[in-house]
Amino acid sequence: MTQIVNEDKKNELYAFMDEVSQERRSNSYLIAVLHKVQQLYGYLPQEVMDQVAEKMEIPTSHIWGVATFYHYFNLKPIGKNIVSVCMGTACYVKGADKMLLTLKKELGIEIGETTEDKLFTLQEARCLGACGIAPVMMINGKIYGELDSKKTVDIINQYRKAAQTDIE
């Protein structure tokens, strides 16, 4: 099953790289290609990077240089749910650091890490543009605002419950 899915992903990535190679100065689209990889795989797997290097004829070292420069790219596999805590100024002023502390404790991980059960990856975000309802966190693109520690833990528990029912 995963084999087929991976084949699909690979085809989609190659189709994208083919499209890009038609453009003038096609190497300048490297970052766009990395975005595509991350969209497909959730992170930048080493073997896929090697494929990109070969296909785009760019040295792997250059690709990794670029990939590691930008915060947006995950270099490690990520969990099912991505929890981004906003550490922008507005959220900070409204106590986001406490929320982060609560989350680290609750999930037992540091920023950039993934829980053992692969359910959560904890990330730091910079202004999610929802400053009006600070402090804010985002889980898989959904915004939760006006948080306090209790609310935060409740929300995490909802995701845990949802994952539990999924398994059942």
């Binding site: 240089g65 420069f69 915060h71 947006y72 100024t89 002023v93 520690s149």
Partner: protein, 597 residues
């Protein structure tokens, strides 16, 4: 109805009828018949427009020209001059048509908007951003048509110069000058870039402008392309803004379909197209030379200037780069005139500025005010002041490159020079209100932690210097500060400012230096008395239960670490070694039975 060119709206409210709007209508109809343009004009009756003392009111669209006190005798002139020759009759116009009027007409009586002047945000909330027809109905792409049909590129540059517009991305460089430099370059290829990287962590002006009205930005970019002789535009936008990206994509597609983008735009020989490139989460990529490297597919490292992008930019070609808000001003300058824009604002700063107002203030959100508005007006009149009866402490502008201004600067007028003189900067538009519960040392540390993390590492003063500053600030907030630390921060700060390669390093010490200048006593308290007056620095703080405690158990239940003990109806106890100082017990207690000491 295809060939209707003008729509007239006549008010048939009671007062206007009293002022003979009925007679006016028949006069118009017969005059239209006489001039033979009856079919090109449609007449509608509207309800009361609320300008009763100036009736009868007649509105001519497109253009939203409002005539007042119109008598039958004026009709031939209006028909001939306005409808046939296209020149509104100035002596009867009671409200000049400026693009921003419409927003004001809809929302002007809402307090929050009343003190604002929405020029660049004029369409946000008024039109459907995903519908190009909606944009066209508010004179969308009319500026582009005007530029392509009636103006030479030199005239466009001159008009922008006349407006006095300065870059809204932070540095405030005169936009017209920059356009002139790029236009003057001879090259086989030129580029135009829209900087939508919006790196200030606490600001979302550009995102909202694009989400609310993407076409205005695109129209501005096309006009810029025409003015400097470029054929390609690029919007560099943060990947963290999916909705804005989606709206931009749609807008670009629709604009192409309507012939505003692509080959031979509007039947002229000007061809231009726009492409979107995504950032990938690096603050320094907002800096123009780093941004250019990022578009080229490399690490986003800045390089020394000169050469400026206007001479050697993207792929070594002359490149015009402006901020989103700067671009959004362009169609207004073309349609309402550079002179009009320059009539708004102060001596050195013209037009309006958008701020993302947030933090400890009642009304948070986007605020667009004329330059020259005071900080007090924004914080109190528009923002509604500080909630929960707390005391104002400072307002932070310019994000990680800016500073914190205390109470005595509240009457500072918003313009590039005044804010700089007060010790902060205009910045791109972040404005965070801070109350007495925030510690200024921690805030300074917060910003340095940010810039230190975002420093690209290319130059030593910024890479190493910010790290040293962070170390010192960290030890101060942890209660381990030493005598002489403040002076060390000042020395380091001024050195980093002077010797860094790009704007990131050159401005990174600002939050620290401005808080030292304005809140030095807080630094001294942390170092000498190991005290944080805001009660924010956890290392300098413990929570203790006082005799007010009734033993309700609320604190015990909420404590995430089980640091509170006690039996019901008896005084509880906080175990200091387990306490993580999250403050939740303090917040939850209804009896003021917990003290921060």
């Amino acid at each position: 109805m295809e060939d209707v060119q003008y729509k007239m709206m006549l008010c048939d409210g009671v007062s206007c009828i009293h002022n003979q709007s009925k007679e006016l209508q028949s006069a118009i109809e017969s005059e239209l018949d006489k001039s033979g343009i009856r079919d090109a004009v449609s007449i509608h009756l509207s309800g009361c427009l609320g300008m009763c003392n100036k009736g009868p009111i007649l509105i001519v669209n497109p253009g939203y020209t409002i005539y007042g006190g119109v008598g039958s005798e004026d009709v031939p002139e209006i028909v001939q001059s306005h409808l046939v020759e296209g020149k509104p009759v100035a002596r009867l116009v009671i409200e000049e048509d400026h693009l921003y009027n419409r927003f004001f007409r809809i929302f002007g009586d809402v307090d929050f908007f009343g003190k604002q002047m929405r020029i660049t945000l004029r369409n946000c909330g008024v039109i459907d951003p995903e519908n190009i027809d909606d944009y066209l109905s508010v004179r969308g792409y009319e500026a582009l048509a005007k530029v392509l049909c009636d103006m030479t590129p030199e005239q466009v540059v001159a008009e922008v110069k006349k407006s006095g517009l300065r870059g809204r991305g932070g540095a405030g460089f005169p936009t017209g000058l920059k356009w002139g430099f790029t236009a003057a370059q001879k090259a086989d290829e030129k580029y135009v870039i829209c900087n939508a990287d919006e790196g200030d962590p606490g600001a979302f002006m550009d995102r909202s402008a694009i989400e609310g009205d993407p076409h205005t930005v695109i129209e501005g970019i096309i006009i810029g392309g025409y003015a400097v002789g470029a054929t390609k535009g690029i919007v560099y936008i943060r990947a963290e803004y999916p909705l804005a990206i989606k709206r931009l994509e749609k807008a670009i597609e629709d604009a192409r379909e309507h012939g505003f983008l692509g080959k031979d735009i509007l039947g002229t020989d000007f061809s231009f197209d726009v492409e979107i490139r995504l950032g990938a989460g690096a603050f320094v990529c907002g800096e123009e030379t780093a941004l250019i490297h990022s578009i080229e597919g490399a690490r986003g490292m800045p390089r020394p200037r000169p050469p400026y992008p206007s001479v050697s930019g993207l792929f070594g070609k002359p490149t015009l780069i402006n901020n989103v808000e700067t671009w959004a001003n362009i169609p207004v300058i073309i349609l309402d005139g550079g002179e009009w824009l320059s009539s708004i604002g102060t001596e050195t700063s013209k037009g309006t500025k958008v701020f993302a107002l947030a933090g400890k203030v009642h009304n948070t959100g986007l605020v667009e005010v004329p330059m020259g508005t005071t900080l007090r007006e924004i914080v109190y009149d528009i923002g509604g002041g500080i909630p929960n009866g707390k005391k104002f402490k400072a307002v932070q502008t310019g994000g990680p490159s800016g500073g914190c201004l205390p109470e005595e600067y509240l009457d500072t007028q918003i313009d590039y020079e005044s804010l700089a003189k007060a010790g902060s900067i205009m910045g791109s538009g972040g404005m965070i209100v801070i109350d007495e519960e925030s510690c200024m040392v921690s805030l300074a540390r917060f910003f340095i932690e940010f810039t230190q993390d975002e420093s690209c590492g290319k130059c030593t003063p910024c890479r190493e210097g910010t790290k040293r500053m962070l170390e010192i600030l960290t030890r101060i907030v942890e209660g381990k500060g030493k005598a002489g630390d403040i002076e060390k921060l000042e020395r380091l700060g001024s050195m980093i400012k002077k010797s860094s390669l790009c704007g990131l390093g050159q401005s990174a010490p600002n939050p620290v230096l401005s808080t030292i200048k304005n809140f030095r006593e807080e630094y001294e308290e942390h170092i000498e008395q190991k005290k944080c007056r805001a009660g924010q620095c956890v290392a300098l703080l413990s929570y203790v239960v006082n005799d007010e405690c009734v033993g309700c158990g609320a604190c015990k239940r909420i404590c995430p670490t089980g640091a509170i003990e006690g039996t019901r109806k008896e005084k509880h106890l906080i175990l200091d070694e387990k306490c993580i100082r999250c403050g939740q017990c303090y917040d939850v207690c209804k009896f003021e039975a917990i003290n921060k000491v």
